[in-house]
């Protein structure tokens, strides 16, 4: 069987999703919808300006790659029509948005809903996860994550920085990946402290967020999400009882975050059992970014087989969104300024 798919939103992400699906034999993109994008180069598929028309087509699944404010409305409408849903991250503008999708999903347990937390599929992350799961390095003590970029051309004019459309700034748009990885390794956090700032860009959402997170097991995560990181950076340090892992750089289409690497260090100990400093590090490089392909493989195969998905679940999306807004809420000065609009 071939899964017939519609793609709502045909910007950069919509094109990546379609190209990934076009390479598959068990899925076929049959319809596209975007009110603004030039789709004239897309032959052999029906093209719409109105996403509601796309949902009237004979499709089994929809990929929602549109702007954040539309995500819950499209997702809920698709589920009501018996259509499987794949949503980009962030899963809406705020927790209420993702709760709407969750509630609709609960009404249709036979349908797949998956969110695009593709970083979990990067090879460095997969290998780090395997190492942590093996417990050969002991239990995680703490993590420190930095994910940042230099804004970009016309960053201050981008819809991603309009609160009514995006719901938040750099933390919600990019930092949510790092938060999702924190959850992947340590589960969710119950205590949050933060500073959320908008210092450089003239935008009504944050351009930097700094947060301290702690879970019930006492594991601490430190995150810095930045739109003033002039040198593009992805770095996740995971320190465990018997060593550490450092994920540095992540493969992307622009390669601007550098080569994807994983450093693994296993502690050595002195004669009295005390850890010696600066253990030997083994650095590994990863050549391929197959995250988009793996992500779509899980979505398509689960939709065809009726299996439950494991990565990008509704609960993971809810957890990530709630942590983002817990970070916003933990900085009273940010909240009191009213700059972070939480419209439903």
């Amino acid at each position: 069987m071939v899964l017939k798919i519609g793609v709502v939103g045909f910007g950069k992400m919509g094109r990546i999703r379609k190209a990934t699906l076009d390479a598959r034999s068990d899925a076929r993109v049959v319809a596209l919808a975007d009110p603004y994008a030039d789709m004239s180069d897309q032959q052999g598929v029906s093209r719409h300006t109105d996403w509601e028309k796309l949902l009237e087509e004979d499709i089994d699944a929809v990929v929602i790659s549109c702007t954040n404010e539309l995500i819950p409305t499209v997702a809920v409408a698709a589920l009501a029509k018996g259509i499987h849903v794949f949503c980009e991250k962030p899963p809406g503008r705020n927790p209420q948005d993702v709760h709407r999708i969750r509630d609709a999903s609960l009404q249709h347990p036979e349908l797949i809903v998956k969110f695009g937390f593709n970083h979990r599929y990067h090879e460095s992350v997969e290998q780090a996860r395997r190492l942590v799961s093996s417990q050969s390095l002991g239990k995680i003590l703490w993590m420190r994550g930095v994910y940042g970029k230099a804004g970009g051309p016309e960053f201050d004019k981008n819809w991603r920085n309009e609160p009514s459309r995006s719901g938040g700034g750099i933390l919600l748009d990019q930092g949510i990946h790092m938060i999702d990885l924190f959850h992947d390794f340590c589960g969710t956090f119950t205590e949050v402290k933060s500073f959320v700032t908008s210092q450089y860009w003239n935008i009504p959402v944050e351009d930097n967020a700094f947060a301290l997170l702690r879970n019930d097991e006492g594991q601490v995560g430190v995150i810095h999400s930045s739109a003033t990181q002039w040198r593009h950076t992805f770095r996740l340090e995971i320190f465990l009882e018997k060593g550490f892992l450092t994920l540095e750089g992540i493969l992307s289409s622009t390669m601007s975050y550098g080569k994807e690497t994983l450093i693994v260090a296993r502690n050595t100990f002195d004669e009295n059992g005390y850890p010696l400093p600066n253990p030997e590090e083994v650095i590994s490089f990863f050549a391929d970014d197959r995250s988009w392909e793996k992500e779509m493989t899980e979505f398509v195969t689960c939709a065809l087989a009726g299996d439950a998905i494991k990565i990008g679940t509704v609960q993971q999306a809810v957890d990530a969104m709630e942590t983002v807004f817990a970070i916003y809420g933990a900085d009273k000065s940010w909240n009191q300024s009213g700059e972070c609009e939480q419209s439903a």
């Binding site: 460095s124 290998q127 190492l131 093996s134 994983l262 030997e280 650095i283 590994s284 490089f285 050549a287």
Partner: protein, 334 residues
């Protein structure tokens, strides 16, 4: 696919001591000469190492004719002695007997550690990273050094099976010997093929065997010499380790990846550990080989570059998989 930089895994003096290498080299070259002079030796012509390789310009080494693929850089001999001839040498040949005697009588614990520790660490990594529980394991190669005993020492491997041994020596502690023909399909979760691909008459047949014996989702761990590495690209057949009978096929990185894919394996790691390239080049230049050019860059750089340069060079080679020795981990698809 990951590539690990493992700069301190191997030192030339430990894994290839000079007096050992030179004597073995003499005996092995004498065996090649004997095969060539003996009219009863049976030879077989060979296809290119991969479907996409081209039979490029030839060169001679130890009397054997080698070809070089102009596209990917793979090097292969053709014709080669039939496998039975190679097995006979491995069983009864002077070089093999000398090696067995050396490793049996004069092999120090330090040397054993130097050769085994990186492989044991690698096995541990694979078991940890992929959550293997007592994997059913096979080992080919490194018979004489007792690698099976070292691999079994931590008790994390399942039954260790040695296949296709020809040495005639008893199986080392912790292992049983079973002919490949007696094994059922998908018999193993983890196969270590240590340096055999470059030595067999038909490496494709060897990969086909592993494809049959490795269970879906299981792993094939290979060590092999690489044609794309600095040692062979600079020194060519003048490289001390280029002993014709032991280097019948030298894959390039893309060629080996292609071959593994052909037999249903997805490469998950391709690393070129150690610092042998730099040390081998340095040694070769110290011995007066091979460049006649007084302005040769490599001679100059290795003489004047200092330790930092040598380490950085080897690290760069490893990062870009241009070292002459590789470890490859491939997962059986399915």
């Amino acid at each position: 696919m990951k590539t690990s930089v493992l700069i301190d895994e191997m030192r030339l003096a430990e894994v290839r001591p000079d007096q050992v290498a030179k004597r073995y080299e003499e005996l092995r070259r004498a065996e090649a000469a004997h095969l060539l002079q003996n009219p009863s030796t049976r030879w077989v012509g060979r296809a290119t190492p991969t479907r996409s390789c081209k039979p490029g310009p030839a060169f001679m080494s130890d009397g054997l004719s080698f070809h070089h693929c102009p596209d990917c850089g793979s090097i292969f001999a053709s014709p080669v002695p039939v496998q039975e001839e190679l097995d006979r040498l491995a069983r009864d040949g002077e070089a093999a007997r000398w090696r067995r005697d050396y490793f049996g009588q004069r092999f120090s614990e330090k040397q054993r550690q130097a050769i085994h520790a990186p492989i044991v660490r690698w096995a541990q990594e694979v078991i940890d990273e992929y959550g293997l529980t007592e994997p059913r394991t096979a080992l080919v190669g490194n018979d004489e050094t007792g690698l099976a005993t070292s691999l079994n020492a931590n008790g994390r491997l399942g039954q260790m099976v040695l296949t296709e041994r020809v040495s005639g020596q008893p199986a080392p502690e912790g292992a049983v010997e079973v002919a490949a023909s007696e094994l059922s399909a998908a018999a193993f979760d983890l196969v270590f093929d240590m340096g055999s691909l470059e030595r067999v008459a038909d490496p494709e047949r060897r990969l086909a065997l592993w494809s049959e014996l490795v269970a879906p989702g299981g792993f094939l761990a290979i060590t092999t010499s690489m044609a794309s590495g600095l040692e062979y690209r600079v020194l060519g057949p003048k490289a001390a380790s280029f002993i014709a009978l032991d280097r019948l096929t030298l894959y390039s990185v893309p060629a080996l990846t292609e071959q593994l894919a052909l037999f249903g394996f997805e490469v998950v790691e391709f690393s070129t550990p150690g610092r042998l390239d730099v040390e081998v080049l340095e040694q070769a230049f110290a011995d007066g080989a091979p460049s006649d050019d007084p302005l040769d860059f490599w001679t100059h750089a290795l003489k004047h570059g200092g330790e930092d340069f040598k380490t950085d060079l080897q690290r760069l080679l490893q990062q870009h998989r241009f070292s002459s020795f590789a470890r490859v981990l491939a997962r059986k698809v399915g």
